[in-house]
Symmetry: none
Subunit: 218 residues, 4 copies
DNA sequence: GATGAATGAGTGTTCATTCAT
DNA sequence: GATGAATGAACACTCATTCAT
């Protein structure tokens, strides 16, 4: 890859093999990520990933048993970053707060970039599906837990099923505005946040929260 | 293959060629549909579709210029069925009405079964993407128009962006409960309908509508 | 093909089957000819030939065992027309006479149009090659015989091998000017005739022949 | 495959990769050449060429983008060898000289062996046709230029069109005796040379040239 | 460890030929 | 006889994976 320097300088700094290996592995992961993202999974060949990472084809198979495994590694790497923090619903301005959370979450999604490959693979890779499903369950749990806090404080609608609301929020966040090029208008994050808040809080609660001034954040 | 009728009816001399051809074409469409659905588009070969339909490889190419064209034919066939009617929001029980609409829509989606292939192909087939995008725009338009009616009658929230609400309803309907195998809980249609109605009507409006008596909707 | 008329008129004129068959056979031959000519042999499919002749694919195989056989039939049909008459060398103006013969021959070649397919097939079809070789031997024989007449009358060069001269004349005629688009200049038939005559007659013989007056040729 | 050298020389450690690759490329070229020659272009499959060269199908496509490209490479390789030197007409024995040139040219043609494929491909590959046409124009130019020299020295017939003569010589040389298996007799090179010389020089000029003894070559 | 040339099963597609109607 | 739908072997070409160097 870029080992020429060592040869010139001698074996001096002696970068531990493991570290060099890690670099290569990361380069491959990174290349896989960017190629999967831009061309899709099936359309990306192992050779391309290797070339893009500056290593030989065979090297690819030293670090990953196959293309699929690289994807799984990618997922493990990135999936944690995808997990949003448990949202705080009770604040002086839940709408604005939620909007900023949504924006941040969307950026993470964008950066992770797996939206490009997942739909292609989920249906035919049950293991992958399970991994992802677990992640979604985790997210679902966090949101639900946040809602329960608010609900326990009597701040939410009484007639809505919290589970359904949770699920709705998650779906709306996942298919967030950014993806919405397809549908006509680009709803912006604040409007989306308002919609979500409407599902959670009766309007008067929002007014009350706002009037509290500096509501203590969780 | 599909000669069963003759067997039952006896030797009615001539099955018109066109009809036989239609039968074969349909068998291929059907096979394509079910294989695409179960294995995905890329993983399904023309040979397999032909075999599954009980014809030879070459026969496939008599009826369709290639795999993609079969998919497009499938889409044309099914896309109209996918279009939901413009929902009527104003009724004595919008929630129940909406729930039944959602259920019907979901059945259509299920039957059409393209959810399996579309995610795989959309990113790499701009024409297909355009066709679908147009369909979604149409749906979006219908929902929005329905909401406007209700809004003009002063029945809706005043502080929510109709476009965003429309988009939210569409997204929620598309990713409806059935798909929710992935996320833990299966929200049922009525709960989902309630959530949607909350986005549209203030609770007191719903009460008023209900009290109006038995207005028959659609 | 165009049998609908009979059905309307009844069995009245009763075109003998053989004749109708001949018509179809000829239509197929003609279609084969024109398609082979314009697209080459391999590039022409049996289906196309049938369609162009206005009959069904299967009908093709009633009249010809396969594509190759149609070509052979074509050859037999056309090869006789290809045979030039034994040229008369001794005339008052051999050059002009030869030029007109060349022109006529070239027209025949053009019309027959097999130059398009023969090169493609000769190397891989020994039987075809033999048929053609026989034809060429026949032509060679005719030219040689003509030359011998002239030679016996003492009109030709004495130091040239008649066989080689014959062969040269044949080759030049076959690759005649028309084909010469490829090489830069388009030699015209008279110049070519002069060249051929130079191979046969010493210049003074030509002068003598010319002075003989108007001997009618051929 | 072609490692015989190593076996003889011992284990000279590294056969440079490039050299191994060249060997394989050459083996493929050679296989292509011999298969095209014996079976024709269309009848030869890439798989066969690979098998004949002792490599796998995929390897073929490492060295050549497709079958056609291998042919083009073959042509480039061989076309230069095909170009005859500008013939020297003025010598003490033009006939003998020409005969030996013809023989040499014929050997080259034979070795190149493209006569087998060109007729098959020329009509349907305009690029190939252009490449070949250019080569022929070059040859035509060389011959014509040689003839002009002789003509300027007043050694040639005055009544023949030089262009036509040039073209005739070229055609005769191209369809040289060797190809003449098809026509009955095998004219030999000397006789053919005599014929060509007759087209260029009046007999008395030849006598004069011969009597000169050691005529200076060009 | 790293390389990249080699592999060969697998893909979509064509077309000469057959055969039920 | 005539039809044209059906056949299936064959082709050019790709790519995940292996392995000699």
């Amino acid at each position: 890859m870029a080992d020429r320097e060592e040869l010139l300088v001698g074996d001096f700094p002696f970068v531990p093999k493991q570290e060099r290996a890690q670099q290569k592995r990361n380069a491959l992961l990174e290349s896989g990520h960017s190629l999967f993202f831009s061309k899709g999974y099936e359309q990306t060949t192992a050779k391309e990933i290797a070339a893009h990472a500056g290593v030989a084809t065979g090297t690819f198979y030293r670090y990953f048993s196959d293309k699929r495994q690289l994807l799984m590694a990618l997922l493990e790497d990135k999936l944690d970053k995808l997990l949003p923090p448990e949202p705080t619903w009770v604040s002086c301005d839940p709408e604005a707060l939620l909007a900023s959370l949504l924006k941040a979450h969307n950026n993470r999604l964008q950066e992770v970039g797996l939206r490009r490959v997942l739909p292609e693979l989920l249906p035919k890779d049950p293991e992958l599906a399970e991994v992802l499903s677990a992640a979604r369950r985790k997210i679902h749990g966090r949101i639900l837990s946040g809602l329960k806090h608010a609900s326990d404080s009597g701040l939410t609608w009484k007639d809505l099923d919290l589970d359904t609301v949770t699920w709705s929020i998650m779906v709306l966040a996942e298919n967030g505005p950014e993806k919405g090029q397809q549908s006509g208008k680009q709803a912006d994050f604040l409007e989306l946040a308002k919609v979500m808040c409407r599902l959670v809080f009766p309007p008067d609660v929002l007014v009350k929260l706002r009037s509290k001034g500096s509501g203590p954040a969780e």
